[in-house]
């Protein structure tokens, strides 16, 4: 049988889902910034957009655009950003975006029992 919800908080698939999404966000970040320093940087869940990456606010617009395209309607980036002002957005850690995406995506069906 298959079960849903393994990517929920603490579920066995959560760490794998976060690692996969972190890789995807990192790929988009590197393309948006496009400079050498970010190619070499080890981007983790704790990396900050402002202090570590020194992202310009318009680069975050471009990142959100790519992520919206990548994940489609499943991830409501507009709703996510609507409650924050620009300083709160830029002061986020990469992990906050990753966790929001993982929380939004439908959990993959995997083999096994509950």
């Amino acid at each position: 049988m298959s079960v849903q919800g393994t990517a929920g908080p603490g579920g066995p698939g959560r760490a794998e889902a976060e690692a996969r999404v972190l890789g995807e966000v990192t790929e988009d970040l590197r393309e948006v910034i496009g400079e050498e320093y970010v190619i070499d940087m080890d981007i983790t869940m704790e990396t900050t957009f402002s202090h570590d990456l020194e992202v310009e606010s318009i680069e975050f617009v471009a990142l959100a655009d790519r992520l919206r395209e990548r994940y489609g309607e499943a991830v409501d980036f507009v709703g996510f950003l609507a409650t924050m002002d620009v300083d709160q957005v830029i002061n986020m850690r990469v992990g906050e975006v990753v966790r929001f995406i993982v929380d939004s995506l439908p959990a993959p069906a995997v083999a096994g029992s509950a």
């Binding site: 606010s57 617009v61 709703g79 002002d85």
Partner: protein, 300 residues
């Protein structure tokens, strides 16, 4: 969709919609940012995502020469900016009147667009518009010269090279390129004054917002007196940067304006201990005395 060719120029556009998509009767809101030291991101994060989440079909874009839009050498007169906006609406297939929200120069552009393309406009929200019946071109050029003075200062250059950080340096250098590689400064000088007769006949509701401590607060009363359907909101203790300073209130105000205008506007409650004043270097047109002061270790 991120790029649109409008009026022969490649413009960077972001369309923001509520979850599930906009409907046929969702208000279409177009946001127009300010000149030179500004781009799509100021509206995207302050009002764009918020109003889309509230049910609007939001269009944010970078003006020509700004942000991620193309930077042609010429075409920075007000008439060019209006043609760009009309071309953008055409390219996006927008066929019903839109609510335009403009900040600073973007607000002046919005008002001019409302006069020229009245049938395409449902309402105008003008945040800190430079507005004059006489000498508007000189006023726009004065604003630009403030930026130019600040940017060409040696101390500012040193700060950009050594202490400003990547994000501020990139934004400032983009503005420097716009000013040095295009005709924007001379084109601004040609900005025609508004016609009092045309304004008196404007059949579009206007919401005007100024900061009490703005260097152009003196222009607010003239605008409100001339435009027949004008709601003027003056926010105490705020400056020309009111979009950034009072984002929370402006979100409430715009939700009221777009969805609930039959009721009184939401009251403004100033956040405790927050007071904004226009720095003297802006009003006196001299460069800031020491931009590095905040970054140097205190000497006791």
């Amino acid at each position: 969709m991120a790029e649109v060719i409008a009026n022969g120029v490649r413009l960077h556009v972001q369309r923001l919609e509520p979850r599930g998509g906009a409907s046929a009767d969702s208000p279409i809101v177009v946001m127009v940012h300010g000149m030179v030291m500004d781009n799509i991101s100021s509206f995207y994060f302050s009002l764009g995502t918020c109003l889309a989440d509230a049910g609007c079909d939001v269009i944010c874009y970078d003006l020509r020469g700004h942000g991620r839009s193309e930077r042609p050498r010429g075409g920075y007169r007000l008439a060019d900016s209006m043609a760009d906006l009309a071309g953008l609406l055409d390219a996006l297939g927008v066929d019903r009147p839109v609510h335009i929200v403009g900040n600073s120069y973007g607000a002046t552009l919005a008002l001019a667009f409302g006069l020229e393309f009245t049938a395409r406009v449902a309402s105008l929200t003008l945040i800190e518009p430079p507005f004059l019946i006489e000498g508007l071109g000189e006023e726009m050029a004065r604003s630009l010269s403030q930026i130019l003075v600040a940017m060409t200062d040696d101390e500012v250059q040193e700060w950009l090279d050594n202490g400003a950080g990547r994000a501020i340096s990139r934004a400032t250098r983009a503005a420097q390129r716009l000013l040095s590689e295009t005709t924007v400064a001379t084109d601004m000088l040609e900005t025609p004054p508004f016609s009092a007769e045309a304004l008196a006949a404007l059949g579009v509701p206007v919401l005007a917002v100024y900061g009490e401590n703005s260097d152009i607060i003196g222009q607010a009363a003239g605008l409100a007196a001339l435009v027949p359907d004008c709601t003027l909101i003056v926010l105490e203790h705020h400056t020309h940067m009111v979009l950034r300073e009072a984002t929370g209130y402006l979100r409430n105000l715009l939700r009221w304006w777009l969805f609930d205008r039959r009721t009184p506007p939401p009251p403004y409650v100033r956040e405790a201990d927050r007071r904004f004043a226009t720095p003297e270097w802006v009003t006196q047109m001299v460069p800031p005395p020491d931009l590095n002061a905040g970054r140097r270790p205190a000497v006791s």
